[in-house]
């Protein structure tokens, strides 16, 4: 594809591309104003280097068309500032306040390629000596692709900007160099407001409240609030009530069952980091058995354990699969795109990403079945206990508990399971490009969002948040501003934020979390985070905090499932404690012995469970199970296809329908307000729930812009009205080889009969 870059050779050659201005014009006229050309810098943002007369290719064709401008590298982003006067910002509703469409936050840079004449070479960091490429291709973690030509800039500028970008994007750096710290020192965010919304699980009250909400009956541990017990343990957590103080610290938290969620029947879900079994020493085994008994004791003396390390792909495999998968969307040019279109389904199949998603969902369904149908406690474990455990436990809670399908509920879930749960966001995203951490990089959180998207796709009306919300959340992981994604665990966060505080003696540095959406989007744009299909449960208090009450939790169960009354605490305790203990251990050993040999059975049992659930009428506020059949697990179109021009459906896509729903919803809400003014009490639940939900349709109407399938990410300014016609159709069919002579045959038996 690079072979066509004829113009990249030298400055003297007549450029073969079409541009709005010639390089000569720029040099003579724009030189004086060059200094002014930089983006509106954020507080704490510093420009490292810049080059002018850089050509940014328009992504979607081979015509070498582009726009000239300046390329800059700051401590936050790589930024391209066009020389053209900014066009009327039509329909730029979904503008990110931190970075624009031509900005790439440094941690969002995935790979940089150098274009040398006709070769494309992956740049791996280090000093690129002498030979800097004439073309720079940047693949972003949010799937954008940028292509810049450096051959029109001054040689030294070009060299500098190229090396600067490579250095700041790919070289190892210290955590303190991340933009968040200089940004936060120069801004302040009212923390109080945020606190009222998302439950952060950074206080003992949050944990107690969540346990109460689910009627759990475990022990809240607050002794680690200053990490006295162990820096590896969360600040606050909940364990089975039978766990003693000395058990807490025995293996630095390893093997300690952490409570996740309680089912209304009394059984609960726990997760733990598994203890590596040392052969000569029997102590961990005894400890583990003790912990299992403690879990079993929670309800009906039953527990099922599941070692996710044995049954789900390892984090490295997840990374490998995703790396293959993402390549299908990092498209350099149209030809490449249509070439890959032919083998799309099998490539998709071979990279295994969808299958990993399916496996995670299936595992979650298995756990749900244990909790919901068998009313047995479940302990999931893996090495570390904060990757796939987080995926599975969050999914289980989404399926079982409608609260987590609200926007604030979902954010609280991420706080509980991922942030407080100690998912190593920093290591997994490897923002710092540390060579020794390269191994631990893995898109585990993205995998979780992918699974959520599948659920949402299948059961749209059950979720208060929209697809756009999930996409934006997946992007935000790579914006190095939010404390949510910058640390490996509670103590890590606490340490760093305290150390970085300008007022060392007092409160730690106050950084925004990703849930402070106003940092990135204005209110209008945030409206797109809500799903117009969602309707709240009728006659349920609209205030989320108040609706915690167990009242609606009772409605979670399947009508068919046998409801077992949780035994009163201590019912068996005196009379049969020993017996039960033996029984418990016996069961455990059976489950523990054959984790893998069981799997074919569980798969069919999961299928039965799903089928039984499916025959019941669907309650969007009750248990939700995903269909795991081949056709049901799909590609997250919005996230992955949004930047690819050739697959934009202009005037189509699901947004065409959803915006009509939003439109009517807006009308209904307006009518409600009018009725309210009349003092009319309404039985309905649409009251003020989703204000100004009609944004999409309003934009469409106001700016007479036709929405496309990649709404709201791509604005439709440059729409060509030419349809995309697949190139290279000829080679696409392998039928001749496959179907033998069929393809050569006549449609209707013999030849045309009118002939002799």
């Amino acid at each position: 594809m690079l072979s066509s870059l004829g113009s990249a050779g030298g400055k003297s050659a007549k450029p073969s591309f079409v541009s709005y201005v010639t390089p000569e014009e720029i040099k003579s006229e724009k030189e004086p104003s060059r200094k002014e050309k930089h983006p509106d810098l954020l507080p704490g943002e510093v420009v490292f280097c810049s080059a002018s007369t850089v050509l940014k290719y328009t992504q979607d064709d081979l015509s070498q068309r582009g726009v000239f401008g300046a390329l800059l590298c700051t401590n936050f982003r790589v930024s391209f500032v066009s020389d053209e006067a900014p066009t009327e910002e039509t329909g730029q509703l979904f503008k990110n306040k931190l970075y624009g469409e031509n900005d790439i936050p440094l941690s969002c840079v995935d790979n940089i390629y150098g274009g040398y004449e006709d070769k494309k070479k992956l740049i791996t960091g280090g000093l690129v000596k002498n030979k800097y490429p004439s073309k720079m291709i940047i693949h972003c973690k949010d799937l954008r692709v940028f292509q810049f030509s450096l051959s029109f800039s001054k040689e030294e500028d070009a060299k500098k900007i190229f090396q600067g970008i490579v250095h700041h994007c790919l070289e190892p750096k210290s955590l303190r160099c991340l933009f968040a710290f200089s940004y936060c020192e120069n801004t302040s965010y009212p923390e109080v407001q945020r606190k009222k919304q998302t439950v952060m699980f950074d206080s003992v009250e949050d944990w107690i409240q969540d346990m109460k909400r689910t009627k759990g009956n475990c022990r809240v541990v607050s002794e680690n609030s200053n990490f006295e017990l162990s820096p590896k343990l969360p600040q606050f957590f909940i364990v089975p009530s039978n766990v003693s103080d000395e058990d807490l610290t025995k293996y630095q938290g390893k093997g300690l069952p952490m409570w996740c969620w309680s089912h209304h029947s009394g059984c609960a879900l726990f997760k733990t980091a598994s203890i590596p079994l040392v052969q000569e020493d029997n102590v961990p085994q005894t400890y583990m058995e003790k912990m299992l008994t403690a879990v079993a004791h929670n309800h009906l003396y039953s527990v099922k354990t599941e070692d996710l390390s044995d049954t789900l792909p390892a984090v490295q495999d997840i990374l490998l699969s995703y790396n293959k998968f993402k390549q299908f969307f990092l498209i350099d040019n149209t030809t490449e795109f249509w070439m890959s279109d032919m083998k799309w389904f099998s490539s998709l199949d071979n990279c295994g990403w969808l299958d990993i998603i399916r496996q995670c969902l299936q595992k979650a369904v298995e756990v749900v079945e244990c909790l919901e149908k068998e009313n047995t406690n479940v302990l999931i474990m893996e090495e570390g206990g904060s990757d796939l455990c987080c995926v599975v436990s969050s999914l289980v809670q989404l399926m079982l508990d409608p609260y987590y399908r609200t926007l604030l509920g979902f954010q609280s879930l991420v706080q509980k399971e991922w942030v407080a749960g100690g998912h190593a966001f920093l290591d997994r995203s490897n923002h710092l490009h540390l060579k020794d951490k390269a191994e631990s990089q893995s898109p585990v959180f993205l995998l979780f969002l992918e699974c959520v998207w599948q659920l949402q796709q299948q059961h749209g009306p059950a979720f208060q948040f929209s697809e756009t919300y999930l996409t934006v959340l997946s992007d935000s992981v790579h914006v190095p501003v939010f404390t949510t994604f910058l640390f490996n665990n509670d103590s890590h966060r606490d340490n760093i934020l305290r150390a970085e505080s300008p007022h060392t003696q007092r409160s730690p540095l106050n950084c925004p979390t990703v849930w402070d959406w106003s940092v990135q989007f204005d209110c209008k744009a945030q409206d797109l985070f809500t799903n117009p299909l969602y309707s709240e449960k009728p006659k349920q208090d609209t205030s989320v905090r108040k609706s915690y009450r167990p009242k609606h939790l009772r409605q979670l169960s399947l009508p068919s499932s046998a409801f077992k009354t949780p035994p009163k605490k201590g019912f068996f305790k005196d009379e049969a404690d020993n017996l039960k203990k033996i029984l418990g251990v016996k069961r455990l050993s059976r489950w523990m012995l054959s984790p893998s040999s069981e799997s074919p059975q569980t798969s069919s049992s999961v299928r039965e469970f799903y089928e039984a659930w499916q025959t019941k009428p669907l309650d969007y506020h009750g248990l939700l199970l995903p269909c795991l059949d081949g056709p049901s697990i799909r590609v997250w179109m919005q996230r992955y296809l949004r930047w690819i021009h050739d697959v934009q459906i202009l005037g189509g896509g699901p947004v065409a329908m959803l915006s009509k729903v939003s439109e009517i919803l807006g009308e209904v809400q307006e009518l409600q307000r009018q009725l309210d003014r009349h003092g009319c009490t309404l039985t309905s639940n649409h009251k003020g729930a989703r204000p100004r939900a009609k944004t999409a349709s309003v934009i469409a109407a106001r700016s007479s812009v036709r929405l496309s399938s990649s709404f709201p990410f791509v604005t439709s300014r440059n729409w060509l009205f030419k349809p995309a016609i697949p190139t290279s159709l000829l080679q696409s069919l392998m039928v001749t080889g496959m179907a033998g002579n069929l393809a050569d045959r006549e449609d209707d038996g013999g030849g045309p009969e009118s002939l002799v």
Partner: protein, 607 residues
């Protein structure tokens, strides 16, 4: 729920439903009330205790009823109950399974292959030739034409408010397109099907071409299917013409009349170059020379460019759908679903058809006239012209307009429905059979998926069309061409499918429909956006949730109802507020017949 769900044949609104089939219904009432109402003209032939080997929930005991229209099975005691309701027309093949001495449970019975993506197996008692009568009857009634019987469409006594045969009037449709013009005229040269026996009687041809020219051209086009106009662009006067291949042959014959005729088409709107789209892969076009066919050579046809669209023939499509059935019925292929899907090539064929149509539509939008053909011009050609017309002309995206499109491009122009579907014919291995029309409907479905607000009709219409493509209950899809339909008096002796549809049109409407008249609709023909039509191809699988309405649609309807309710309430409130007598709220105010929009304007008046 483990049953295979059945398509709903809604005839309950028909006042005549029981009158004409007294015998059958009375008898069946005596034995056991049939859960399904018989159609007028439908008669019970046999019933029998039988075991249905359900691929999803295992063997189910029950009773099978066979009428002259359908096979109906109801389970005796299974919970949830299992029912099957299969029009006999959907049956492609009936075979005996096992013999009197076969071992194993349920090894003796019938094996039925359906045209609608399912197979049915029934088991009977092994003693006493228990299946002989049912097999014979099924064989006779499922394939009536092979046994000198009438298709059910000729026996049906159904009556509808609407007469579907009046949906398509060629003259009206041409007038709607703005025809005739000074460049295009209407000709009745084919009034007696003499010029071309597979074309309709009314044709639109270049004004400059005389009847004599047409006759000369017809000798050089396969089966006399000369290039005629299908659609004309109102503004730029670019036209879509359709025809069959030229009879070039091995020797590379030329025909001056044909060459001149195509040039006249080009001239009509001053196009510099006429584009000829040959739907076939070029190798096939070349190979056709051997049998006397071929394509328009560059050197012979000046001012014309030839583009091959690489769409494969009916045999390839038939095998492709067969493979698709293998991976979705009865169970969806579990491992490597996507690779299996790809290996059927079904979606790849869809992609090629769609991208061909996009190219045609794009050319027309650009003001260039096109001629489309394949070999005979009744399979791929019909797909391409009708899809391009659907993209170009919003009229065809309405409920009525779509019916016109099918009547025009498919039915009147001689898509060989009888041969492709094999209505009432026992010869299941006939090489003429092919799911070309199913493939076209799939393409339409793909477009409705990509543009959910652009079509007035819904998915249910497409499913209903496909169900009755096979059912033989309506005359609409019977026979190969207009002349055959004329001979067999289809219009006077059978009911049109559009009678059913238009008498209950609200069930087939898409609530999201937003008319946009001037817009060309270009779907994205990329595998990224093409999906398997799960709700059609996998609809017999109970694990695929059959939702009456999509959740989006459901929510939308709820909100619409809520809006109307609020508007009414508000109206009432305003009435009571302005009424001098009552100061309190009342909900007994007179119902107002005003439309919602009027309400809204009313609301803005301050009070």
């Amino acid at each position: 729920m483990a049953s295979a769900s059945i398509p709903v044949y809604n005839c309950s609104n028909n006042p005549l439903e029981n009158s004409s089939s007294q015998n059958a219904s009375r008898e069946s009432l005596k034995m056991e009330p049939l859960a399904v109402t018989l159609l007028p003209g439908e008669e019970r032939v046999i019933d029998k205790d039988i075991m249905y080997i359900c691929p999803f929930s295992g063997p189910v005991k029950g009773k099978v009823f066979i009428t002259n229209y359908r096979l109906y099975f109801k389970s005796a005691d299974a919970d949830p109950s299992v029912t099957l309701n299969v029009p006999l027309g959907a049956i492609g093949r009936v075979e005996k399974m096992g013999g009197a001495s076969s071992r194993g449970e349920n090894s003796y019975g019938l094996d039925i292959t359906c045209k609608d993506m399912r197979n049915l197996r029934f088991a009977l008692k092994q003693e006493g030739h228990s299946r002989r009568d049912i097999f014979d009857i099924l064989f006779r009634y499922a394939f009536p034409l092979s046994h000198g019987l009438f298709l059910f469409a000729y026996l049906s006594q159904e009556k509808y408010e609407e007469n579907g045969w009046s949906v398509y009037k060629p003259m009206e449709e041409f007038r709607r397109q703005g025809l005739p013009t000074d460049k295009w005229r209407i000709t009745f040269i084919n009034d007696n099907y003499e010029l071309c026996d597979t074309y309709p009687t009314i044709l639109v041809v270049p004004f400059k071409a005389t009847e004599e020219d047409l006759r000369k051209v017809s000798t050089f086009r396969s089966r006399g299917r000369i290039p005629v106009l299908s659609w004309i662009h109102r503004e730029n006067q670019a036209v879509i013409c359709r025809c069959s291949q030229p009879l070039v042959g091995m020797s590379g014959k030329r025909n001056k009349d044909d060459e001149r005729y195509l040039d006249v088409i080009r001239e009509a709107n001053g196009t510099a170059k006429l584009t000829i789209y040959d739907a076939r892969p070029s190798v096939n076009a070349v190979a056709n020379k051997a049998t006397g066919g071929g394509y328009e050579g560059d050197d012979t046809y000046q001012n014309a460019e030839l583009v091959f669209l690489d769409i494969h023939n009916i045999h390839v499509m038939r095998e492709s759908l067969k493979k698709l059935k293998d991976i979705v019925y009865p169970n969806v292929e579990e491992s490597h679903w996507l690779s299996s899907l790809e290996s059927t090539h079904w979606l790849e064929h869809i992609k090629l058809v769609l991208s061909g149509a996009i190219q045609v539509a794009d050319k027309i939008s650009g003001g260039n006239s096109v001629v489309v053909h394949c070999s005979d011009g009744w399979d791929r050609t019909a797909q391409l012209t009708s899809l391009a017309m659907l993209m170009l002309d919003s009229h065809y995206r309405t409920l009525r307009g779509f019916q016109v499109l099918l009547e025009k491009e498919w039915i009147s122009f001689g898509h060989k429905f009888a041969s492709r579907i094999g209505h009432g014919d026992k010869n299941h291995a006939d090489q003429d059979r092919s799911p070309i029309f199913v493939q076209f409907i799939d393409c339409v479905w793909q477009m409705t998926k990509q543009f959910p607000t652009a079509f007035e009709f819904n998915e249910r219409l497409l499913m209903t069309i496909l169900d009755h493509l096979f059912s033989c209950r309506f005359g609409t899809f019977l026979y190969n061409c207009e002349s055959a339909r004329h001979t067999n008096e289809v219009r006077s002796k059978t009911v049109s499918l559009w009678s059913l549809v238009n008498s209950d049109s609200t069930s087939y409407l898409n609530p999201f429909y937003t008319p946009e008249s001037s817009r060309v609709l270009y779907p994205v023909a990329s595998m990224r956006h093409l999906e398997l039509w799960v709700t059609y191809y996998i609809r017999w699988n109970p694990r695929i949730r059959q939702q009456q309405q999509s959740p989006v649609e459901q929510r939308y309807m709820e909100l619409l109802a809520l809006r109307d309710e609020y508007l009414k309430k508000l109206e009432e409130l305003q009435l009571t507020d302005s009424s001098p007598n009552s100061s309190h709220l009342s909900n007994s105010s007179a119902p107002n017949a005003a439309s919602p929009t009027q309400h809204i304007t009313h609301l803005h008046t301050p009070f």
